[in-house]
Amino acid sequence: MNSEKTFKVGIAGAGGIGSNIAVHLIRSGFTNIKIVDFDKIELSNLNRQFYFFDQIGQNKIRVLLENLTRINPSLNIEIEEKILDASNITETFNDCNIIVEGFDNAELKAMLINAFAASNKIVISACGVAGLDIENITVKKISDKIFIVGDFTSDIKDKKLYSPKIFIVASMMANIILKLIGFSDNIIQKNRSL
């Protein structure tokens, strides 16, 4: 499949955004992915992240791989358990050409975009995903290759996180990625099935 050879998606953070984007990509038949996170699964994650009650306490990245493998047993994605910061983020995703920003923290979100701004990598990020209002979710494109999805105002300092809005934003982000990679609406597609 041309898209698998041409594109590799790096997902920074396996939380609400990252884990659900991974699900969408795998379900769509795209598996050339690297996912990086350091965290363990907590009860509070279950309101939006692709984990289950009996997985609490385990490492997110290893469990996400298990969960995704249950969707597609033949997948061979790359995972790395690591705390990402400005000093290691570009080297970590050096071989990826589409980068997903899946952080929870505002400073890390800005850090990622700034880190890749001078590169030719495409970045898909989320900004403003808290609460229940979905009417103001938009896609902002900056500098020709950076896409930011969200309402740009709803902050976790002020509003709770809910599964539907997180899922909507993650879905929009995944959709952008699939289009960029070259997935089409055509029913008859070669080698697209799982």
């Binding site: 990252g18 899946g102 929870d104 979100k109 800005a110 995903v129 997180i166």
Partner: protein
Amino acid sequence: MIDITINNKKIEVEETTISELLKQKKINQLCVVIEINGKILSRELYDIQKINEGDKISIIKFVGGG
């Protein structure tokens, strides 16, 4: 004073640095991406880059959640 555009709104500001502008607006520098005339400004230049007449500036302020 010079005329610039910030997030599509025309505004008159003092000739100053990006860093100063953010401080005046009480915006945390660590939470932003700044685009000037279509190009993302590197963080190292926030203290150095001066705002010029006619500049089109986008300040994208990130909020937490993911």
